[in-house]
């Protein structure tokens, strides 16, 4: 289980999270929606200790992330796969090396790594791209490699930062299907940050809206679709006012 407990985070005078609380139960996929710049990525980075809260904490499997030492943090990070917004693939490495990098760190044998890389690439429908460089791939393919890199680790949790942003509708649907497939195959718990409502409805069990540093509303998909909160309505319907 991942739990944000009253997390506060500011960068200088800019307050981004101000009492952010949210529980992600095992097995479910929670989608966090919110305006650009509202702090969705900042929230995700707290889960893996890339950012530290000014107050409050994130609890992963009973451990407060910000209190962990390096070893403890490494142990927590090993249970989490992180899919970055622009994939964050390593430019100088091939697709297979990218997907295998985290496995090498875990001391797996060369054959095991090869198997897992092959399996992960197959799951994202990218078999045979092993020797290509990230620069040779389209945006959608890069995202899929990013997902493969996360699932190759067989994590308990996967965090997706805007997995469909900037992709055409068909490619977005492919990514959505992939997230669902990943969840079915690996039984992972997911946190998806997005402002793509179609994607949110497709992959989410619950949807939480982040607004002004806090959760404005959280609920099941139909609950959110039928919300009476004018602000949430405005966001999900994409109205300018």
């Amino acid at each position: 289980m991942i739990e944000f407990q009253d997390v506060h985070k500011a960068f200088g005078p800019k307050r981004v999270l101000e009492g952010f609380s949210l529980k992600i139960r095992d097995g479910e996929t929670v989608v966090v929606i919110g305006f650009s710049g509202s702090g969705k990525s900042v929230a995700l980075k707290h889960i893996v200790g890339l950012l530290h809260p000014d107050a409050g904490d994130v609890i992963v499997d009973g451990q407060a992330v910000s209190t962990l030492d390096r070893q403890g943090l490494t142990a927590v990070r090993r249970t989490i796969g992180y899919v970055f917004q622009f994939a964050a693939l390593f430019d100088s490495m091939t697709v297979a090396e990218n997907v295998g990098l985290g496995l090498r760190r875990r001391g797996l044998s060369a054959e095991e790594i090869e198997d897992r890389v092959r399996e992960a690439l197959a799951l994202v429908d990218l078999s045979g791209t092993d020797d290509q460089l990230p620069a040779e791939l389209s945006g959608g393919m890069r995202k899929r490699v990013g997902i493969a890199r996360a699932i190759a680790l067989r994590p308990r949790y996967i965090l997706y930062d805007e997995p469909t942003t900037g992709l055409d509708p068909v490619t977005s649907a492919v990514i959505d299907r992939l997230m669902i497939r990943t969840r079915e195959h690996l039984g992972v718990t997911g946190v998806v940050v997005t402002h793509d409502m179609r994607s949110a409805y497709t992959v989410g069990d619950r949807i939480a809206m982040l607004y002004e540093g806090k959760i404005r509303q959280v609920g099941g998909v139909t609950e959110i679709q039928e919300t009476e909160d004018p602000l949430v309505r405005q966001f999900i319907e994409g109205r300018p006012e």
């Binding site: 490494t74 992180y82 970055f84 693939l89 390593f90 430019d91 760190r105």
Partner: protein
């Protein structure tokens, strides 16, 4: 006014603190040999390939100019074989290390800052961390080690090149015999000339790569940020090289 000075002072203190932290993280990453040794070899090759042609090019022309200027300055008052002395001493003690250092600040330092800066703004550094890699062990230590070890080697070649072109110039343009050139070269030579130059080069290599890494990993704000980081890396390391050069002259000569 006072406020402005105060703010500057605070910024400067913060910068020093930041470098201190960076240094601490780097030292902490040192025992993680398994992580850095592979990348270090890659970086050493890269530093060598990137820098050797530039360093030799500069040294070659410096040797020519030194020989000609020496003979122009001596104008018969000083025996001409002192050309060998001047070329040798200057290449080893000063121009070999410093000119190569400045050129490589622009090449190696800038390219490291740009590379790490790009990795930072495209979240590749974050990605490394989530894959349980320590960016200091994986990115910083290999580069700094490569710089520190490779610079003296590159500069040694540069020194030799400069002395050879100085000698060729003396033969061709100055009516100086090989024997006289060598006589001058050996005249005041002490072993310290070489190790001082090479030691200095190692500190320059350390500084250039360290600054490149610090500035690179501190990059913010997209492509523009990367451009800024690159320029800063060159400017800071050029300044530091000149300061260090004076420092070693005071302390070691």
């Amino acid at each position: 006014m006072i406020q402005a000075i105060g703010r500057r002072a605070v910024t400067a203190v913060e910068a020093v603190g930041q470098v201190g932290h960076f240094f601490q993280d780097m030292v902490r990453a040192l025992p993680d040999v398994r992580t850095w040794v592979g990348p270090a070899i890659v970086q050493m090759r890269r530093v060598g390939v990137d820098s050797l042609p530039v360093a030799l090019f500069i040294a070659a022309f410096t040797g020519v100019v030194l020989a000609l200027q020496a003979s122009y300055t001596f104008t018969g008052a000083v025996p001409l074989y002192f050309v060998g002395t001047l070329v040798g001493k200057t290449m080893m003690l000063e121009l070999g290390p410093v000119l190569a250092g400045l050129a490589l600040a622009g090449r190696v330092g800038a390219s490291m800052a740009a590379e790490l800066g790009t990795m930072k703004v495209t979240e590749q550094v974050d990605a490394l961390e989530t894959l349980a890699y320590d960016p200091y062990a994986y990115l910083v230590v290999p580069r700094v080690i490569a710089g520190t070890l490779m610079f003296p080697i590159i500069v040694a070649f540069a020194m030799a090149t400069g002395i050879v072109t100085g000698w060729l110039t003396s033969l061709a343009l100055l009516d100086l015999s090989t024997n006289d050139f060598l006589k001058g070269l050996k005249l005041f030579y002490v072993f310290k000339d070489i190790w001082f130059g090479l030691f200095k080069s190692a500190t320059f290599g350390f500084t250039i790569t360290l600054v490149g890494c610090i500035v690179g990993l501190d990059t913010r704000g997209g492509a523009q940020g990367v451009g800024r980081a690159t320029t800063h890396a060159v400017v800071y390391s050029a300044i530091l090289i000149l300061v260090l050069d004076a420092f070693w002259a005071v302390v070691l000569l």
